[in-house]
């Protein structure tokens, strides 16, 4: 908490705490022996993730895949500082996370736009909370809406947008603060294939510009391979890291749909699928067992 006040509140928001497009050591994420237990409604402890160890280099794009309920969202919540680990720790830029991590943007699994704010105001929230003057924040927000292709929609309310447009607003709202660390929880999960491909290409381009470290949760292996430098496979019961794959596809990668047909892409995708294959039915049986 003291660390955040020294970097965020005292520096004027106009002077960005870190330069654009350069990943420095402060963007490093180290997850060390992270364990999280929840109390079930019956009062019994339930271990969601156990001993997860994982490092994300500054500026790296790291995807997490794993069967449903294996603790991916839980891991992200610990990194953001919204939740406290039961044991182990998360370090960002060498500092242990305690309270909200500074310089983080989080795109949630569920829609998290403010229904009572217009599109512009939704994107504006980030800078306004940092104390940016209204005028400056507004022009910044307009610029971001243009970048995600939503110029002319500033005055609409979220319920007047399509699902894909809402995700683009959320993306603009997440990137406007130039985050050091971008946490994305299945951001494009609910979109149709075409929109999904557009969003992925868009994300790749924007990421090249800002170079945040990214933790990206997805169910879609193609998406994981196409976007990331590293894919982490998690297994359930309780959630642990099973495998880590480094994706050596050259960057910039350009168009995601074309990438899918490249030889190396298919190789990597197959390897990851092999690793994941046994886990999916196991995880399913486990949750089915709980329900029965």
């Amino acid at each position: 908490m003291t660390e955040r006040s020294s970097t965020w509140v005292t520096t004027p928001p106009s002077a960005r705490p870190w330069p654009l497009g350069v990943a420095d050591d402060a963007a490093r994420i180290d997850i060390i022996g992270l364990t999280k237990r929840f109390l079930t409604p019956k009062g019994e402890p339930f271990t969601a993730i156990q001993d997860v160890t994982l490092a994300v280099e500054p500026g790296q794009f790291c995807a997490i895949v794993g069967p449903t309920g294996c603790g991916k969202s839980t891991t992200l919540a610990q990194v953001s500082g919204l939740d406290k680990p039961s044991s182990g720790s998360v370090q960002v830029g060498g500092h242990i996370v305690d309270g909200i991590t500074n310089g983080v943007s989080y795109m949630f699994q569920a829609d998290a736009l403010f229904p009572w704010k217009s599109v512009l105001q939704n994107v504006l929230v980030g800078p306004v909370l940092l104390g940016t003057p209204k005028k400056q924040a507004e022009s910044l927000a307009k610029d971001w809406l243009r970048r995600v292709g939503l110029s002319g929609f500033e005055d609409r309310y979220p319920h007047q947008l399509s699902g894909g447009m809402r995700k683009r607003v959320a993306l603009a709202a997440a990137l406007i603060n130039n985050p050091r660390i971008l946490l994305m929880d299945e951001p494009f999960g609910a979109l149709d294939v075409q929109t999904n491909a557009i969003m992925q290409t868009e994300l790749l381009g924007l990421r090249e510009e800002l170079r945040p470290s990214v933790l990206f949760i997805t169910h879609d292996l193609d998406e994981a391979v196409a976007l990331s430098d590293r894919v982490v496979i998690m297994t359930s019961g309780p959630g642990t890291v099973k495998d880590i794959f480094d994706i050596d596809l050259p960057r910039p990668r350009g168009d995601v749909p074309t990438l899918r047909h490249e030889q190396r892409f298919i190789e990597l995708q197959t390897q990851i699928w092999e690793s994941l294959r046994d886990e999916v039915p196991r995880a399913y049986e486990r949750t089915a067992g709980v329900a029965a």
């Binding site: 500082g81 500074n102 989080y106 569920a110 403010f114 929230v125 909370l129 603060n177």
Partner: protein
């Protein structure tokens, strides 16, 4: 965008063929016919309303005229009208009717104002702080279970016949109506949104300003409609219990004189005032909640 432009200018052969078969209504005509349909439905609503009024008031007049019911006990519309005229031309035993109305309106409005402000603040505080709500909830339940008319007597004994005890009773009635809604509204806040602003570095105060209050607003505004009715009830009941001025005093005096017509006349006066206030609350609701999707798609689609 480009797709829309294409649709507007170039037509495929299938489209042209269809256009020849079925004359397409131009946009302006569609709009005009939608407007006509809306005007027509509004007219019918007002015709229905007038019919209900004629039926009820006319029936009442008829029954009392034919002596099927005794107008001495139940009043009669024409006599109520006479009383209204008398009230406004000759005034009352305690001064002009405008004086009395102003006193009651003042009590109701001040009670409404203080009651709803206190209700909103208490609701948001207790709704967002589990410790406070656990500590206070039994007391609030106890207070809420006290019959309000008893409270009215207590206030009048304690604070005399002035306007303060009336404001207090109206305020208490309003408070509970607003409090429970504000409390529930805060409890229903989408935790995703709270997490969203917390990650962006919001202080607890900013969380309240950006998430909790706007999201509870739907609930709070909904409660203001009923709360305003309670404010009037509070002011009138307290005046009936004991007052030196006010519509409630006229009502209790007329009751003593077996004059139901004046009582009904007072009710009519308060009804007009309440309708006006209700209209203002609806305007407020529209402007504060303009972000809400329309309940039915009538508004935007034709």
């Amino acid at each position: 965008m480009s797709a829309m432009v294409q649709q507007g200018t170039g037509m495929t052969s299938v489209d042209t063929a269809r256009a020849e078969l079925m004359p397409v209504q131009p946009e302006s005509e569609l709009q005009a016919s939608a407007r006509r349909a809306r005007t027509r439905s509004i007219i019918w609503v007002w015709v229905g309303r007038a019919a209900v009024a004629v039926f009820v008031i006319g029936g009442w007049q008829l029954f009392t005229q034919l002596k099927w019911v005794d107008s001495f006990f139940y009043g009669q519309p024409t006599k109520i009208w006479d009383s209204l005229v008398t009230l406004f031309t000759e005034g009352t035993a305690f001064g002009s009717i405008w004086d009395q109305l102003w006193v009651t309106v003042q009590e109701a409005l001040l009670g409404f104002l203080f009651g709803s402000i206190a209700g909103v603040i208490a609701g948001i505080l207790l709704g967002s702080n589990r410790y406070l709500s656990n500590v206070f909830s039994p007391y609030i339940k106890i207070l809420n279970s006290i019959p309000r008319i008893v409270l009215g007597s207590i206030f009048i004994v304690a604070f005399g016949l002035g306007i303060f005890p009336k404001i207090l009773l109206a305020g208490v009635l309003v408070f509970f109506a607003v409090f429970f809604n504000a409390f529930q509204g805060v409890r229903e806040v989408d935790q995703n949104l709270v997490a969203n602003v917390r990650v962006l570095g919001a202080s607890p105060f900013q969380v309240a300003r950006h998430v909790t209050i706007p999201s509870a607003m739907t609930w709070i505004i909904a409660s203001l409609h009923t709360a305003f009715g309670f404010a009037i009830i509070g002011a009138l009941v307290a005046e009936v219990l004991g007052a030196q001025k006010g519509i409630g005093l006229i009502i209790s005096q007329s009751q003593g004189r077996f004059d139901p017509n004046t009582v009904f006349a007072c009710m009519a006066i308060m009804a007009v005032f309440t309708l006006g206030a209700e209209y203002l609350i609806t305007l407020l609701e529209r402007s504060v909640l303009k972000w809400r999707p329309p309940v039915r798609s009538e508004a935007q689609s034709i």
